[in-house]
């Protein structure tokens, strides 16, 4: 009896793992233009970094400008999706639109000049960007705010 229960549990675990793997595989499908997708995600991550850098000095009035850049940067992802199958394209563009709306919310919230509210709006944008990233294989993703530092042979005199 104990043996059959254990076997059933193992079978359930295996089935669950396989389902999860299959779901992950479907969610993170390989796009037809991986380089374009990677560049688009890096552009959005870079704009996010620029947005976030405005917070320590409370440069709230710059955020609507960064939001405009985010909207423009989203064009890179739209271009990258042009040759994708309709259902995949729709899924990505829906996630992209969600991130664009979250970026707009950062700009709208910036008018309050309330650091905590802007921080929360930025965090919400980062979450939507991570959801967008999650639709692609790991090697193509770009963490919001990640901008690789220039690789100098020697450290710069300042920075």
């Amino acid at each position: 009896m104990a043996t059959s229960t254990s076997t059933a549990r193992i079978a359930l675990l295996l089935a669950g793992s396989l389902t999860l793997l299959a779901a992950q595989g479907a969610a993170a499908a390989e796009p037809r233009s991986p380089e374009q997708v990677h560049t688009a995600l890096r552009i959005l991550a870079s704009v996010y970094a620029d947005m976030e850098s405005k917070l320590p000095d409370q440069q709230f009035d710059r955020l609507p400008h960064e939001n405009m850049e985010f909207h423009e940067g989203a064009g890179a992802m739209r271009d990258a999706m042009q040759d994708e199958p309709a259902d995949y394209q729709a899924k990505v563009l829906a996630a992209l639109d969600k991130a664009v709306n979250a970026s707009q919310n950062v700009a709208d919230t910036s008018k309050t000049h309330d650091t905590a509210k802007v921080r929360a709006a930025l965090d919400a944008l980062a979450a939507d960007m991570r959801a967008l990233n999650g639709l692609f294989p790991e090697e193509l993703r770009a963490e919001p705010g990640s901008v690789p530092a220039p690789q100098h042979k020697r450290p710069p005199p300042s920075h």
Binding site: I43, E69, H152, R154, P156, P157, S158, H159
Partner: protein, 154 residues
């Protein structure tokens, strides 16, 4: 005083009178062409390091290779250790001042701001041997867009 006057003045001083005299005796000042670009729409220069000999006339061309984002960039060379301070001074100069502290002696050379698809150039005399930081002075960009000009002995 024009931007070029400012740069000529700032750059000639560190080079040294003896070296200038030697160049004068030999004839024409050696010239070097350098090219740098943005890394597409990313907030980065490509390459991030440039090299030239001291005292040469540098023709630098900066290409803004962005395609999507309407954002301005420039290329500004500063004295060692002054990049952060120049970036702050640029912010204070504001849009009216083209985000550049024009009379600031810490600025050794600077292009105008340019937008995606455009390129701008600047000529300057390479300063004394050393490592000189360069940045984009558009607000917020210097934290990401920076590099080093290695000036080697002539």
């Amino acid at each position: 005083m024009t931007r070029r006057d400012l740069l000529e003045g700032a750059l000639t001083a560190p080079f040294g009178l003896a070296a200038l005299a030697a160049l004068g005796a030999a004839g024409k000042r050696p010239e070097v062409s350098l090219t740098i670009a943005t890394d597409g729409d990313l907030l980065a220069f490509k390459p991030t390091e440039l090299t030239c000999p001291a005292g040469v006339l540098v023709h630098l061309t900066f290409f803004h290779t962005g395609k999507y984002i309407t954002q301005e960039h420039d290329w500004v060379l500063t004295v060692p250790g002054a990049a952060d301070a120049v970036a702050q001074a640029a912010l204070a100069a504001g849009e009216a001042g083209d985000y550049l502290p024009h009379a600031d002696k810490r600025v050794l050379a600077a292009t105008k701001m340019c937008n995606k698809g455009e390129h701008v150039s600047v000529d300057f005399i390479a300063p004394a041997p050393g490592d000189y930081p360069f940045i984009c002075t558009y607000p917020g960009h210097a934290a990401f867009m920076h590099g080093i000009l290695h000036v080697t002995p002539l």
